[in-house]
């Protein structure tokens, strides 16, 4: 088994978080349109964007896109050029965030997924790295996933389009963040607000570790952790009606054999009801999925169980896309556009 490096108690500062001195003066307002939020953050960050992607070296070499992953500022090249969805995978350490990402990529590696073609990725090395320990070339006796350290926080990119080429391609940006980020956000509103990328998220995907759900001694704590995280994000105003929330019960292959146990069944029903009651009317959409990104082979569950449904739902409906379908897109200048969007969103909420 590979040695794991020790976890830092405090993750280092990064583009994903603010330091206390950099905390935003205004609290984010629930109900701001996604474009308003995105534009305001992008305008902040553009001051720091590197405008010279191609630099000449002394030996006449030009850099190509690095490929390991984007930061929120460098991802602007994607979000500004094309329709995109920002998907955040959130949850405790080892709940399966990176494995989920790696498995989605592996599914596309073999064939179209859920009626969509792989149309490109500017982070192919990033995906390849994350798949490595589950491949034969790693020499590992069984599949594993490298733990995401805070210094490895990144955004991975996939471009997809329908197999009939009927619509233009859509860019998907996935966060791959260390579990420590969410542990801190769960416990502190200030820490939650410092995770500023949350405000830009279209799909907030909360993973509840199925391995812990299957164990009576851990299941209540595992659920409570993620319930607290979601509440923290909502109460801090980082998520809201502009966000679609998916709650995933991961490692479902470990849960399935135990579904005859009444206690487990009742527990699952209870937590779904609680989450729905507590949060459904505070977000754009709330849904539940049972997934097994890399199931145990003996479980008889296919690789990437239910990921096709999950991915197609992200592609087919997102809060921004839905918004533009309802409101006919017009092309005023960007400042005017932000005002109009903000006004129309307020109007729709007041109905």
């Amino acid at each position: 088994m590979r040695e794991r490096t020790k976890v830092a108690t405090e993750p280092p500062a990064s583009e994903y978080t603010t330091t206390p001195d950099e905390d935003m003066e205004d609290s984010p307002t629930e109900g701001e349109s996604p474009s308003t939020i995105v534009d305001s953050i992008i305008n902040e960050e553009q001051d720091h964007v590197d405008e010279t992607p191609k630099e000449k070296h002394s030996d006449d070499l030009i850099d190509l896109h690095e490929g390991s992953g984007f930061t929120p500022s460098s991802a602007y090249e994607i979000t500004s050029a094309n329709q995109s969805q920002l998907i955040m995978l959130a949850g405790a350490h080892r709940c399966g965030k990176t494995t989920l990402l790696a498995s989605i990529y592996e599914l596309f590696r073999d064939e179209p997924l859920a009626g969509y073609l792989f149309a490109g990725s500017l982070t192919l090395p990033g995906f390849e790295m994350r798949c490595h320990l589950a491949r034969i070339s790693s020499g590992m006796p069984r599949a594993d996933t490298e733990r995401t350290k805070p210094a490895d926080d990144t955004l991975l990119h996939l471009r997809v389009c329908r197999t009939d080429l009927g619509e233009s391609a859509l860019d998907l940006l996935f966060t791959d963040l260390a579990g420590e980020r969410f542990r801190m956000a769960k416990d502190s509103m200030d820490e939650c607000r410092r995770l500023k990328i949350l405000r830009r998220v279209d799909h907030f995907v909360l993973l509840i570790d199925g391995a812990k759900l299957a164990a009576p001694e851990y299941r209540h704590q595992a659920y409570l952790q993620e319930h607290s995280l979601l509440r923290s994000c909502l109460d801090a105003g980082m998520l809201g009606s502009h966000t679609y929330v998916d709650i995933l019960f991961t490692k479902w292959d470990l849960v399935m054999p135990l579904l005859e146990e009444e206690a487990l069944l009742k527990f699952l029903e209870t937590i779904e009801a609680q989450l729905t009651r507590n949060f459904e009317d505070r977000v754009g959409r709330l849904r539940f999925f049972r997934v097994a990104a890399r199931p145990n082979q003996k479980a008889g569950v296919p690789f990437g169980y239910n990921l096709d449904q999950l991915v197609s739902s992200w592609i087919e409906a997102g809060p921004v896309r839905r918004y533009y379908e309802v409101r006919q897109p017009v092309m005023p200048d960007s400042a005017e556009m932000r005002e109009i969007q903000h006004f129309m969103l307020i109007q729709s909420q007041n109905r």
Binding site: D60, I62, F118, A119, G120, Q297
Partner: protein
């Protein structure tokens, strides 16, 4: 008018062999290809040298970065009646490998990318490396070994656990992943300015033999879809901007280790060549070049064929 066609492919995918055989076909006109040599241009030492080796069924060896050349040919299109100078930069596979691993290219290559009118993308069945998951391998092992024999599995597991796990490095990525990124570098640099792609599956004779042995009739599209499915999806998804066409090509006509005698006995060396593609004669190696010529933005015509 000058038309530039960029040959892209990882090491050992048959780029230089293609050029050598192409030079022979257009110059000798032994068959009736789409394109024939109009007149000679430029320094032909390199192209003559590789053609000489090809005719003699000698291995061409790998092109080294120091050997990279730009090969011009002034060719006449028998259907349109037009003559065009087609320039083929023969870039080594090593240079493409370095693009993927080092994430950089030269200014000179960037200029070629800016100016190219089409791409010949090379793949080779025996140089196409997959990257299989552990669960896929275990599933296959489960079919081959009696899984009730725990001793066998435990032996296998203990042997594998003795192998030191490796850090990931770029060389471990599969051929299709590297090839997709090579194309993405071009698209990104050209700011999505369109270009057609002729996909060349080299050593097509190997695929034909293998599929015949299995009683199958594998088409070029079948091969692309099953052997490099990620690349296949990428080409299809971007085909409205960058139309593509797939050709199965055997420029040598066989295995130089086993078939040299048979190949040398051909009265016309052009007859060694195998080309499978839309509307092209069996030996017409100019077919992919002609397709690119007719589908570049210069000609204003675009089609998507298989």
């Amino acid at each position: 008018m000058t038309h530039k066609q960029l040959l892209i492919g990882l090491p050992n995918t048959g780029k230089t062999t293609f050029l050598a055989a192409l030079w022979y076909v257009v110059d000798t006109k032994e068959i009736s290809p789409f394109l024939t040599l109009d007149r000679v241009e430029g320094d032909r030492e390199y192209i003559n040298e590789i053609r000489h080796k090809w005719v003699g069924c000698e291995p061409l060896g790998r092109t080294l970065p120091a050997d990279e050349q730009v090969v011009p040919m002034r060719l006449h299109d028998r259907d349109t009646g037009k003559s065009t100078t087609i320039v083929f930069p023969d870039i080594s596979g090593e240079s493409f490998r370095r693009q993927w691993e080092n994430r950089e290219w030269t200014y000179e290559y960037a200029t070629l990318v800016d100016e190219c009118d089409g791409i010949l993308l090379f793949l080779h069945p025996e140089a196409t490396k997959p990257s299989r998951r552990i669960d896929e391998a275990n599933e296959l092992l489960g079919e081959l070994i009696d899984i009730n024999t725990d001793n066998e599995l435990n032996k296998g597991k203990s042997d594998r656990s003795a192998i030191s796990d490796e850090q990931w490095d770029y060389s471990q990525a599969s051929t299709q992943v590297k090839t997709v990124d090579l194309l993405q570098f071009v698209c990104h640099h050209r700011l999505d300015s369109p270009f057609p792609i002729a996909v060349i599956i080299s050593a097509w004779d190997i695929v034909m033999k293998q599929s015949a042995a299995r009683g199958q009739n594998v088409t070029t599209d079948d091969w692309l879809e099953t052997q490099v499915p990620l690349l296949h999806q990428y080409l299809l998804a971007n085909s409205l901007t960058n139309p593509y066409c797939i050709f199965g090509v055997s420029a040598q006509g066989g295995d130089l280790d086993k078939d040299t005698t048979r190949l040398l006995e051909k009265a016309l060396p052009s007859e060694r060549i195998i080309v499978v593609g839309p509307d092209c004669a069996q030996n017409d190696l100019t077919a992919p070049v002609a397709w690119l010529l007719r589908n570049s933005h210069q000609s204003g015509e675009k089609t998507n064929e298989d």
